[in-house]
Amino acid sequence: MKNYKSILVILSIGITSCSSCKKDDDNATTTYQPGSVTLEYENVVNGIHVDISGGTNYKNAAGDSFNITLLKYYISNVELLKSDGSYYKVPESYYLINEANVSMHKAVMSDVPGGVYTGIRYMVGVDSTRNVSGAQTGALDVGNLMFWTWNSGYIFFKLEGTSPSAISGTNPTGDYTYHIGGFKQSTGANMRTITAAFGENLTVDGSREAEIHTTVDIQELFKNPVDISLAVDNDVMSPGPVATKIANNYVDMFQFEHIHNAK
């Protein structure tokens, strides 16, 4: 009996504190500490973590068999949607996601103002300003091999591998190369904006965990709105209509999954 009572007391305290938690969250006068927010990208094919060893054969919407040996892309210009409907623009937010390097599956944004956030908006690619601003550093370092030297500008998205459909007289190994970039309106501005609502609150408050998980399904590159055939388009390394077609396809590749926000 005594035990029961103490359990009840503990439970009620727990419930009370929980509900007070919620109250705090909604209370505009609550002070939150700045903290870091982590973006995590999980690259998948058909929902299973991507294999970039080249050892797994996938089949795309057009029916081409293909494998993957390289996958890299830029996430930039991150903005977090505040509960009041305004956006907090994360300064200098340029991140290179590189499947080959586990430490580059995540982007950590530090010193995000404390508060409650309900969504996110970011660019896949690099804004036009940084494409014309000379030598950059960090994620935008030209040494990251995501820069066209013959036609200045960042490569926003790289996917490489082989496909039997791509085999030809001049391409006996069936390599396919998708280097998607291009920031000029005249040749096709291929930056794409991704927007997602969390469906719940993400509270940034000091050391409180704040992670935003997104899955990136490579299959989406090959379909919707148009199917990409590896027999036809397998060597894309410049801005232009094909690059734009692929960029249009990969917009829906970036699917918000969930947040982690444990205290």
Binding site: V132, G134, A135, Q136, S152
Partner: protein, 359 residues
């Protein structure tokens, strides 16, 4: 000379001719001392000091050293990098290999340039000067900043064939580059950004504006009658594209070299516009007398051949510049006068300026 002076002081008054000879030396020495002291005052005591001097007649520069202030140590680091074959894969080719100061940083007598292992490129190595006024680089204007331009030749498989990350680690592992970067940028951890900024400082400081033409314009030199005639002919027939004072309007034009452009579509490769097929950047005519061979593929060995091309060699195509459809009509005498004028565009001060030379 010092030894002779010393001899004179100690063994002076031997016989008159020798004494006179020694005195002459003394006079020359004093003269040199006076001149060097005077020029010291004028040039802040060191003619190695770099500064960006905006010529009064030039428009404002495109590259303004924003976020990359021109400093002596940054400039000298850029110069060292420019002449260092460490930037190439097998440490054999430097920027200076294909950009030689004696020919205004073009590649003397090379239609095309050989990169590592003797591999040939596809376009003529352009002269380098007045880079700060250029808004785009390469014959097709594909590179949009002097800071990122060097990444092209460094990584091109037929030029220097190196990766940027390798260059950085090679530089970092030398005994001298980290301290040079420390002096130039306050950091001894080398990044591609800092390397490229140093190169940009060196290249953007290369101002060429002291040719006989410039001296004529500012009243410190005179043109002879051929040169004057040639200047008039230039203004009548060439000026619309090779616009003063840069002697280029920075545009891209098809100057009638070919009837088809399958081998090199030029500007169209960048803009993807068929109307840009066969168009290439209008090069500056400054220093033109020393930068042979000419055109984007180096097909003409002499200025005489270039002028003859415009007189009688224009090939028709849909993108041919409208001003060249009938060619440029010049008599033999007019051609010679024009050549005389073009020769006044050589800036000997620039091509002999030790600040831009390999040290």
């Amino acid at each position: 000379m010092f030894r002779k002076l010393w001899m004179h002081l100690h063994f002076g008054g031997m016989h008159p001719p020798l004494d006179l000879y020694f005195n002459m030396n003394k006079i020359i020495l004093i003269f040199i001392l006076v001149v060097s002291i005077y020029s010291c005052k004028r040039e802040d005591c060191n003619d190695a000091i770099i500064s960006f001097n905006q010529p009064a007649t030039f428009p404002p520069p495109v590259y303004t050293f924003q976020n990359n202030e021109l400093t002596q140590s940054g400039f000298e680091l850029g110069r060292k990098l420019f002449y260092d074959p460490i930037l190439s894969k097998d440490n054999t080719i430097s920027c200076g290999s294909c950009h030689q100061q004696v020919v205004a940083f073009a590649h003397g007598e090379h239609k095309l340039s050989h990169g590592i292992k003797g591999l040939l490129g596809t376009r003529n190595s352009p002269a380098l000067f007045n880079i700060a006024w250029q808004n785009a680089f390469f014959w097709d204007g594909g590179s949009n900043s002097i800071e990122v331009q060097p990444v092209g030749p460094i990584t091109n498989p037929v030029e220097m064939d190196e990766t940027i990350s390798n260059v950085i680690s090679k530089l970092q592992s030398t005994s001298y580059y980290p301290s040079m970067f420390q002096n130039a940028f306050g950091k001894d951890t080398i990044t591609s950004q800092l390397m490229l900024r140093a190169l940009a400082q060196f290249m953007a400081a290369m101002v060429s504006a002291d040719s006989k033409y410039d001296q004529y314009k500012n009243g410190t030199a005179t043109f002879n009658s051929d040169e004057l005639n040639g200047y008039q002919i230039f203004r009548q027939h060439c000026e619309s594209c090779h616009k003063e004072p840069l002697f280029t309007d920075l545009s891209y034009r098809n100057n009638g070299l070919d009837i088809a452009f399958g081998r090199d579509a030029g500007r169209a490769q960048i803009t993807l516009l068929p109307l840009d097929s066969g168009k290439f950047k209008v090069p500056s005519l400054r220093n033109i007398a020393v930068t042979s061979p000419y055109m984007h593929d180096g097909r003409f060995n002499s200025l005489s051949l270039v002028i003859d091309h415009y007189r009688t060699g224009i090939k028709q195509s849909t993108t041919l510049d409208s001003q060249l459809i009938s060619g440029i009509s010049l008599t033999a005498a007019e051609k010679l006068a024009l050549l005389s004028f073009l020769n006044t565009l050589t800036d000997y001060t620039f091509i002999n300026d030790k600040r831009f030379s390999e040290q």
